[in-house]
Symmetry: C2
DNA sequence: TGTTTTTACCTTGACTGTCAAGATATTTGA
DNA sequence: TCAAATATCTTGACAGTCAAGGTAAAAACA
């Protein structure tokens, strides 16, 4: 297998996913940064600011502003931490959960679309390959 | 194959690539937007502003500012279009080519890393699967 | 040909995302 | 107790982005 050709194809795949994601997010009236935040809180459940900032790869200063805006949009809320009065737990509101579920469904549909024409075995092979790749880097 | 599990894995793969890319780009002193611009000009060769803006998915207003900055960094230049005096061709400078090649090599190395432990057949299967997926969406 | 429409690019104003640096409040550890 | 560490917030400075409006040139057309 020609590594250049493979590299090119992986990049194209990445770009295509990226474009798809941007389109879906924009339609929902969010920015990609805001969507990413909702995705993480949706998957992780209630999470501290600091931990969330680390997962997003931004500083806490950046996150403060970002959470302010998402709170204004009523997609998530700050809940005072029970045992640490410096800290908050961030959690999704009802509305936030809706947005999260909606986005999740979009992804499920995309995956189904992608797998059109793949046999069970081919799907399993692809899944296994991606898993293995992720262990490699 | 469970579509939810597969979807989750594809998203993780995407996120991992995204994080990798951000890291590599940041190390080179560019923003992701600037890098993306260089990638496209590198692959396409001399290209008009309008076409470049379309490929990047931004407005020409955004691109004007962006190209201004990349020209200041001496990574690319505006060359007046021969037959259309409203237009410019954007092309990489020597320095821009270097950056482009460097980034390209990073990707080649990443791909090699990813494929560690894959047989020729497995690599070809993975390549074929990704190609097929891209036709599906 | 002369005029209108379209096209390509630039400018500006407003907003988001981002970081670095510094402030405040609280917790931890010596 | 009190200094050090931690969690969050604030602010100032930029980059990226779009929309809207401006200029110049090309294209269409009457």
């Amino acid at each position: 297998m020609d590594v250049k050709e493979l590299s090119k194809t992986i990049i194209e795949f990445y770009e295509k996913l990226s474009t798809w994601e941007e389109g879906v997010v924009k339609d929902s009236g969010l920015t990609t940064a805001q969507n990413h935040t909702i995705e993480i809180v949706g998957h992780e459940g209630a999470i501290k600011m600091k931990q969330l900032a680390d997962k997003l790869g931004v500083t806490t200063g950046t996150l403060t502003v970002s959470i302010d805006r998402l709170e204004e949009k009523e997609l998530l809320r700050r809940v005072p931490h029970k045992s640490d009065r410096r800290s908050y737990l961030i959690e999704l509101t009802e509305k936030g959960q809706e947005v999260f579920k909606m986005h999740h469904n979009h992804h499920i549909n995309l995956t189904r679309e992608m797998m059109a024409g793949f046999s069970e075995q081919e799907q399993a092979n692809f899944y296994g390959a991606v898993k293995k790749i992720m262990e490699n880097f």
